[in-house]
Symmetry: C2
Subunit: 230 residues, 2 copies
DNA sequence: ATATGGCATATTGTATACCAAATGTCAAAC
DNA sequence: GTTTGACATTTGGTATACAATATGCCATAT
């Protein structure tokens, strides 16, 4: 299952045309998210140019984009380093993500269609299946898709783009945390609450549960971070 | 009073060194915010290069940055056009901004210092002074500074950066709205409520008032937009 | 008159070479 | 041991060339 599973299903109307710099930034973003480029690593322009077989111009445009997304930091005359957020920053981001999802929940309760609820329920069952099999990767990705589905149901472009950006910055650490934490399936019951609140279209409840959900995410993530940090 | 009034007061310790692409993106951002580049306008690389006396490479890097901030749209092979958000998008952004400020208010109540409250109160009086004089520009900028002060008091980098980005996209339209709307001073009483809630450190109240404040901002902005749209 | 197709022109996308400035390293001098 | 300075490396920026695409125009066909 790839990150862009939708491509298998959705019929894209237009032919997608990406500039080279977009392709590069997408590729680098994936490499960062998947930890092929680790936090603190320095990006050497020449090396990446050789590796991806592109010239410096589009690569540097891609770096600018990633920098403004917060995935890398551009130090003048020192080049680009992969961002290495500390626990405080992670906690901060997760809190804001919680606020965004809480708002998404509010709106979703008013705007979600029965079809979307059914789809989320299906994803929920798939996630339970992955959990039963001990399939951590599948579990994690389905978890992500459920949250994305709720954001989508909120029908707010601004919300979606902010969530996407923030999520990209958190993806790696959440993934690592999911792989390592003993309690990797502990969100199952919270997800039941989320689904229940959505089905009742109880905005206040869904909002509250989602924000709480991100708080407990922080607890799990911090546990793993502290352990790694010796 | 310039946008960066602080420079007059604050002693900057280090010498700030910005890369050329940063300087360019800052300049273009200001030009967009101040309506020197109007929504829908197309940016011709060569023209801007001549105007700013820079080469294409750093200019294009700057454009990438602005595009990822949502201030311009980059259409492959067609160049850059200044974003022209429609009323629905504006409403959407203002709602999310309201959510962010509400959260900032919550945190600020817990973290704000007495000094900061005093400063916000001072800004409030300055704003009242500007209102009394009919100084719309001064009123608007002080209004912005008050909100920024609340965000700052919340002590969340993520929140600050998201707020800054969203605010940049909204700045122009809010400024125009402030200039033209009959009710340009109607936020004065809301600001009294905001300050009161902050002084009481009443998180729930401040959060609610701030979100409501952005809702009434939308009412004023939409009024002006509708009028302009014929 | 409208529509189609093709051509010329303008603009963007990418590659490359080059230079200046900044950084890091390492050895010599004190 | 610390400082100084020369050197190699890397990045920031410019200039330029060329390819790909978009745009506008005109002639032709219907």
């Amino acid at each position: 299952m790839s990150l862009d599973t939708e491509l298998d299903i959705k019929q894209t109307k237009e032919i997608v045309r990406l500039t080279l710099s977009e392709q590069i930034s997408n590729r680098l973003r994936d490499m960062i998210i998947q930890n092929q480029l680790a936090p603190g690593d320095r990006i050497r322009e020449r090396d990446i140019c050789l590796e991806l077989q592109v010239s410096r111009t589009p690569l540097r445009e891609a770096l600018q984009k990633l920098a403004s997304e917060g995935l890398i930091e551009l130090v003048p005359n020192c080049g680009a380093v992969i961002s290495a957020p500390n626990p405080e920053e992670i906690a901060d981001m997760l809190q804001v993500l919680g606020v965004l999802e809480a708002f998404a929940g509010e709106r979703a309760c008013a705007l979600v269609t029965q079809e979307e609820i059914n789809e989320i329920k299906a994803l929920q069952y798939e996630m339970l299946a992955a959990f039963a099999r001990g399939d951590r990767l599948g579990y994690f990705k389905l978890n992500q898709r459920i949250h994305l589905a709720i954001i989508t149901a909120a029908r707010s472009e601004t919300l979606l783009s902010m969530h996407t950006r923030l999520n990209a910055r958190l993806y790696r650490i959440r993934y690592q945390s999911n792989l390592r934490n003993e309690l990797w399936g502990s969100a199952v019951s919270e997800h039941n609450d989320i689904l229940a609140a959505l089905e009742e279209r109880n905005a206040e409840k869904l909002s509250r549960v989602l924000r709480q959900h991100l708080r407990s995410t922080w607890e799990k993530v911090s546990e793993v971070m502290m352990a790694e940090d010796h």
